[in-house]
Amino acid sequence: MRTENQKAWFFVLPVLALVAFNALVPMMTVVNYSVQETFGNNQFFWEGLGWFEQILRSDRFQAALGRQFLFTFLILLIEVPLGIIVALSMPRKGFWVPVCLVLMALPMLIPWNVVGSMWNIFTLPKIGLMGYFLNDVLGINYDMTQQPLSAWITVITMDVWHWTSLVVLLCYAGLVSIPDAYYQAAKIDGASPWSVFRYIQLPKMKTVLTIAVLLRFMDSFNIYTEPFVLTGGGPGNSTTLLSIDLVKIALGQFDLGPAAAMSLIYFAITLLVSWLFYTLMTKDDAQ
């Protein structure tokens, strides 16, 4: 059991100082901008909650938010089951285990802009492997610079390629922690593969699955670099996700007020949904 000791705060101080410096100062800057209007020359005027209202009502924000939720929903829908299936069918021990793990983790260690460039090169019509294969071998009309649907499929496939391994590795960690005795007991009872999964493997994976869903939610909801490099948000605005839109407003148009208000709304949504996921998924444990 942990003992009560207020001096432990001294151990936490360096972390607190560092993260506070990096989180609070910029956050206050954002809050500051979000309630003011500026016409340059460092002159600011009080704007109140006007920017928030404007952002929340704007079609552009609502459309980007809708695309963002659709994107994250599809990502979770594909990556979580796929990750579980791959983890279940992986070998438990032997020579191939580290080989599989290293190969699977590889996509996650590639810089995000390189991931974007790589998929760009991969999907170019005529030149790229996937672009050539789809267009010239299968005869499917595929061009992600022209068709929104192709662009969406490419962005989703890229993210599945990039991050499914995170779910796999987390589930795998949960699976290898199950003692052999559990499986032997199930065998004696004549349990079907489905009941082994439902009553032995799934409960053991629960903690790690919670982490996986949370991490995948946060990261896919905040995604910026990969789709930006791959599609630049296009064609048109069809793959302009929230972060891409935000950077366009903040650094492209330099509309600091609306960008700051949008940042806060964005952050609040991420926090709220993460908290909802967390409470829902850990509800049973608390009882």
Partner: protein, 265 residues
Amino acid sequence: MKKRSLIPILYIAFLMLPIYWLVAMSFKTTNEILSGFSLFPQTFTLDNYITIFTDPTWYWGYINSITYVTLNTVLSVCVALPAAYAFSRYRFLGDKQLFFWLLTNRMAPAAVFALPFFQLYSSIHLFDTYLAVALAHTLFNVPLAVWILEGFMRGIPKELDETAYVDGYSFPRFFVTIFLPNIKAGVGVAAFFCFMFSWVEMLLAKTLTAVEAKPIAAVMTRTASSAGYELGLLAAAGTLTIIPGAIVIWFVRNYIARGFAMGRV
């Protein structure tokens, strides 16, 4: 058994295809790339790599990136160690709230912080230094390192600490000579994750640098836009960015599964 191993094989093949394509492209000449489709390089060339290793703007991009990533890893793990120890061993006022607040920083979209970070680090004259990027990346790496290390430390029984104190060890000596060796897998995994997230993050790294500390990503985008469409060169640069990650992952391969579970299995 055979049928079951088909799924991981297909999955890994899917993962390897785009990587293969990137590597294959890097050995092609720009002419060959633009002239049409070929599965293997027809005129095998090392020119793209030679350009990168002889042009200072290129290879300094890698040196810059590795420098701030290393700095960030050391910094994050060093400050996270005592904090994780406190969270795993003691209860103190506001500990749960503090832990949760640290984790919320992992949820902040990097795009939100780009502009404020630029202003903050410009105002303290750290803009375009390694330290600026290393410090900025601690925003999401320190909470992660605390989380992972706390998970590993919780697995070490408290009796270890108590026995050491009875034997007359002072806290610093106990921590360095007894406790650290016991959680070295955790330290390795935490360092791996800090390295990984600092290495792959590009938005903040690009925003906080101009010339002196320019990361490889910035060099790549500038090349892609200025020198026309040199796909071969871009592919070679991309291929080289995979190597540091592959080396680091090889070192932690035996802990990687547990590491991804943040020590919580």
